[in-house]
């Protein structure tokens, strides 16, 4: 049977709508399942003014056999089989006669009791009970109160429609009485509408300028984009984030197109598209990657009958572009290098000093990285880029549009005649801004990005600022992820340990903890980031623990290592091998007290194991050095046969203490070798979990 819920609100932020809908879906399914209500289908829909759940549900809980137990049999039935007073009392209390009672066996013993059929609750009743709880458990990044209410929600709630099988489920939620009413578009059709069911709801809303399905709104927007641009043969400058945001902000999308004077085209595309996106949320129109003097916008209206929407947006945009053009011209009058000394007065962090000092450190860090990565040709340009990279913080454009930091430095340095390597490195050095963002394309950009971020991480931790839960004022987690992502994707062979040593030495005079302490904190922090990335890539926690076993010195190897592990997990030897490693680790709970002495190896099997180990070890080490983890792992698996024979024929815990310690030492060498590859003992295999 059909269920329909619509909670109307004042305009929710787009991200809040999306999060609320996924929470609603999850919580509804959870609550209905725990109430044993069958779900045939369930989906969520919505706009910034409506959170909607629609579902096809069973009419009620299934009926259930219920067992009611009374007094213990010993007490209720005498040896001759006649009932005692306690049996009669129980039967009477239950409205039964004693002959309707039976003996019920439970874990605690035998009781007198009876079985009865319990009628399932109707679905409407279950929803009536649980809906207020579901709605009030929705959580948002930021909540508010309004009027005289103490209830908190993302924005004020306005109306509650709740229907099951066409009938209102009567309930009250924070001052709203449920009904079968909804309202049309807040400007174009704000009247109340009486709803019979879901199909009717869709139809009524559509007639009253609301398209409740986000996918439909998206298709309409894309279609109208295409129509507007077909004559120009142009494209929308892609901005998925903006599209997603607007998609939820409108109930009845209308694409509008406008233009601006050509003189603004002298501004770079980055500036134009930022000026359009910020404030007015407009899309740039491009052809062959060049900006055309047009924009597209998404209005919440059925039409623009008098062209006011387009012309109004044109007027506002012109004013913003005029500002941007003024900033561009004005900023270019000062060479970036002339701004560098002024960074002295821009505080990076109170205890870490100014940006001028940061830039000094960055020059040393990029020089170090250039040497490690053998970037001889780029080294000089990299140092120059590091010197200039923060100078754009002092430009008018970045003050107006902070999100253009870096990019402006890149664009201005190119205009002012610095080399492509320099301007590219500056341009890209904030990338990647998020885990989904691309890493810098250029080597120099990638190196400068790493240097900038590692300096911030060690500095901020070093002055005693720690991150916890939602508190991460400098966005260190994001920086940590960005470094891991760059190193992994660019396959930079850089030792994280040594990079940290270098970065820490540069802030040593500023920090208020020992360098060793700081390094330990940073390594733990990076392990957390790597773990997060691997989890996002879908690896299971046991494989991640195994792959992180050998440490995270070379991040690009961690990825290769876990990839190899996960491939080999499919092979048939894998499980046996893991069990073997666990067995060894178990035996070695106490470390052996002697070193391996080959002269003490007596039995054939232990001699064979030792010689196999020597050969395999040599091979594995070569493979690991080449970063060929798949082959190394396969090679390690070859220990299995000699190990099997060893365990079959040789008693590790020999009576002779010398022999025993020697065998333990042999096993210890094997464990040490496997640990170089991964800490296999973390891996969960099926035969254990059963």
């Amino acid at each position: 049977m059909e269920f329909l819920l619509e909670l109307m609100t004042e305009e929710l932020p787009s991200s809040h709508v999306r999060s609320a809908l996924s929470q609603l879906e999850e919580k509804f399914i959870q609550e209905l399942q725990s109430a044993r209500i069958g779900i045939r289908s369930l989906k969520t829909l919505g706009t910034c003014r409506r959170l909607v759940v629609t579902a096809d549900l069973e009419a009620g809980q299934p009926d259930e056999e219920e067992v009611v137990t009374g007094p213990p049999k010993q007490v209720a039935v005498q040896a001759d089989g006649t009932f005692t007073a306690s049996a009669f009392g129980f039967a009477k209390a239950q409205g039964l006669t004693v002959d309707q009672l039976e003996v019920i066996k439970t874990a605690k013993g035998e009781y007198l009791g009876f079985k009865r059929l319990k009628k399932g609750k109707p679905t409407a009743e279950v929803i009536q009970e649980r809906l207020p709880f579901i709605l009030s458990s929705l959580s948002f990044p930021k909540n508010m109160r309004w009027g005289e209410k103490t209830f908190r929600f993302s924005r004020p709630i306005k109306n509650l429609l709740c229907l099951f099988d066409g009938r209102v489920i009567p309930l009250e939620f924070e001052g709203l009485e449920s009904s079968n009413l909804t309202y049309g578009h807040f400007i174009h059709a704000p009247e109340p509408l009486r709803v019979l069911g879901f199909e009717d709801y869709l139809h009524l809303l559509r007639e009253h300028f609301v398209l409740i399905d986000p996918e439909e709104r998206k298709q309409i927007i894309l279609k109208q984009f295409g129509e507007k641009l077909s004559l120009l043969k142009a494209e929308v400058y892609p901005d998925e984030g903006l599209l997603t945001r607007l998609l939820w902000n409108v109930e009845f999308p209308l694409v509008i197109m406008g233009g601006f004077p050509e003189k603004y085209l002298e501004l770079p595309l980055e500036v134009l598209s930022t000026a359009m996106r910020e404030g007015q949320k407009l899309f740039s129109v491009v052809k062959d990657k060049k900006q055309l003097p047009y924009f597209l916008g998404i209005a919440d209206a059925p039409s623009d009958p008098r062209g006011f929407i387009a012309s109004g947006n044109e007027r506002v945009l012109k004013a913003r572009l005029e500002d941007a053009r003024f900033f561009w011209g004005n900023d270019l009058k000062t060479r970036l290098s002339d701004r560098v000394p002024l960074l002295n007065s821009v505080v990076f962090q109170e205890k870490l000093g100014s940006y001028a000092e940061k830039v000094e450190r960055l020059q040393k860090l990029v020089a170090y990285l250039a040497d490690r990565l053998e970037l001889r040709n780029e080294k000089k340009d990299l140092i120059e880029a590091a010197r200039l990279c923060k100078a754009d913080l002092l430009t008018d454009m970045v003050r107006e549009f902070p999100e253009l930091q870096g990019k402006m430095g890149g664009l201005y340095s190119r205009q002012q005649g610095w080399s492509e390597t320099v301007s590219r490195a500056i341009y890209e050095h904030y990338l990647p801004v998020s885990l989904d963002d691309p890493v810098p394309e250029s080597m120099a950009g990638a190196v400068l990005s790493i240097a900038d971020k590692i300096d911030t991480i060690v500095g901020v931790f070093g002055v005693g600022i720690s991150i916890s839960g939602s508190s991460d004022p400098f966005g260190l987690r994001r920086y940590g992820l960005a470094i891991c992502k760059i190193v992994m994707e660019k396959k930079f062979h850089i030792s994280l340990q040594r990079l940290l040593d270098k970065a820490i030495s540069l802030v040593a005079d500023r920090i208020n903890m020992s360098e060793a302490e700081l390094k330990k904190a940073c390594l733990e922090f990076f392990e957390g980031r790597v773990r997060y990335i691997l989890e996002k890539q879908g690896y299971s926690y046991d494989l991640i623990n195994a792959a992180l076993g050998p440490g995270i010195e070379f991040l690009e190897q961690t990825t290769a290592r876990i990839k190899a592990l996960s491939e080999l997990k499919q092979s048939k030897n894998f499980e046996q091998f893991i069990l073997m490693v666990k067995r060894i680790k178990n035996i070695l709970k106490e470390p052996p007290r002697a070193r391996l002495n080959s002269a003490l190896l007596k039995e054939k099997e232990e001699k064979e194991l030792y010689s196999a180990l020597k050969i395999i070890k040599k091979n594995v080490e070569g493979m690991l050095a080449r970063g060929d983890f798949s082959s190394a792992q396969r090679m390690i698996f070859r220990l299995q046969a000699p190990l099997n024979s060893f365990f079959d024929r040789v008693l590790v815990m020999a009576e002779d203490r010398k022999i025993r310690n020697n065998r333990l030492a042999l096993l210890n060498q094997i464990l040490a070798l496997t640990n170089e590859m991964a800490d296999y003992s973390h891996i969960v295999v099926e035969s254990e979990s059963r």
Binding site: R145, G147, F186, A299, V346
Partner: protein, 282 residues
């Protein structure tokens, strides 16, 4: 419709909503929110309805009269209603209709925009209202002021009058707006913008401002100790204005900025706490 008629229509509309029409406050403030008619009245439990025009000074926004959109002083139409009515969005839409705007011919959006003023320890949740891409109003449910949780919650509606007038007159240049039938915005404001831009950016004596800031801060604290909270608050407003001037002279570093704002906030928070205590007593 001239700017003057816009004033009258908004006054008329909101007085019919039961608002008391307050005169503009007679000190320099950065926004209508800063004046006592908002700051003190959103604290505590007593209902309140007020509407007023407030000249608002933001020295760093000055452009010597050369930019068609930015000015160092503009006019806000400020509405405060406590507790916020359930249908306040609808009332607001009606106010636009009362200005002769046919909303069905335009694109009106409530666009997520939370508001915060660290100087007076205040924040709220709400939107900027966009009309065909132009921000015409800030719409906020106050959650905190003077560092105190607010209950009941007030709603603040702040119309940017020049913006709204540019929309109504379809003008691209603020100075071309008509103030009344034969007086333009340029006639009244151009010279003021030019001279104050020179003062704000070039001439304001930073040593004098720094000294004045310190003197006003000291006086505010003394007045708080005397339980003269309204005069104390006036001195906080003066501090805030001197701070803004110092800022436009580029005389404040980032760390100092945090420190000075913190000083004002600490005074304002003391005032708010005492005010609520004393109101509770009476």
């Amino acid at each position: 419709m001239s700017l003057q008629e816009l004033f009258l229509k908004l006054y008329d509309f909101w007085s019919r909503q039961g608002c008391y029409l307050a005169p503009s406050y007679d000190l320099e403030v950065g926004a209508g929110t800063m004046t006592p008619d908002t700051f003190f009245r959103v604290l505590g439990k007593k209902p309140w309805k007020v509407a007023y025009i407030q000249p608002s000074r933001r020295p760093t926004d000055g452009r010597y009269g050369e930019n068609p959109h930015r000015v160092q002083k503009h006019f806000q139409f400020q509405v405060i209603i406590k507790p916020s009515p359930d249908n306040i969005q609808r009332i607001y839409l009606d106010s636009l209709t009362a200005l002769g705007i046919n909303l069905r011919e335009h694109d009106l959006r409530f666009d997520e925009d939370d508001w915060e003023s660290p100087t007076i320890g205040a924040w709220g949740v709400g939107w900027q209202v966009m009309l065909d891409g132009l921000e015409i109003t800030q719409f906020t449910y106050f959650q905190q002021a003077g560092g105190l949780e607010l209950y009941p919650v007030s709603v603040e509606i702040t119309y940017g009058l020049e913006r709204l007038e540019m929309f109504l007159e379809q003008k691209d240049n603020i100075y071309d707006l008509s103030w009344s039938g034969d007086v333009s915005y340029r006639d009244l404001r151009f010279r003021e913008e030019k001279e104050f831009s020179i003062y704000n950016f070039e001439q304001a004596d930073t040593q004098m401002l720094q000294k004045s800031f310190n003197a006003m801060e000291k006086e505010a604290q003394r007045l708080i100790n005397q339980n003269l909270l309204l005069p104390a608050y006036d001195h906080c407003l003066k501090c805030s204005h001197f701070f803004n001037l110092l800022d436009s002279r580029g005389a404040i570093s980032v760390t100092e900025r945090v420190k000075l704002i913190g000083q004002i906030r600490s005074l304002v928070n003391q005032i708010a706490r005492k005010f609520v205590e004393q109101e509770g007593e009476s």
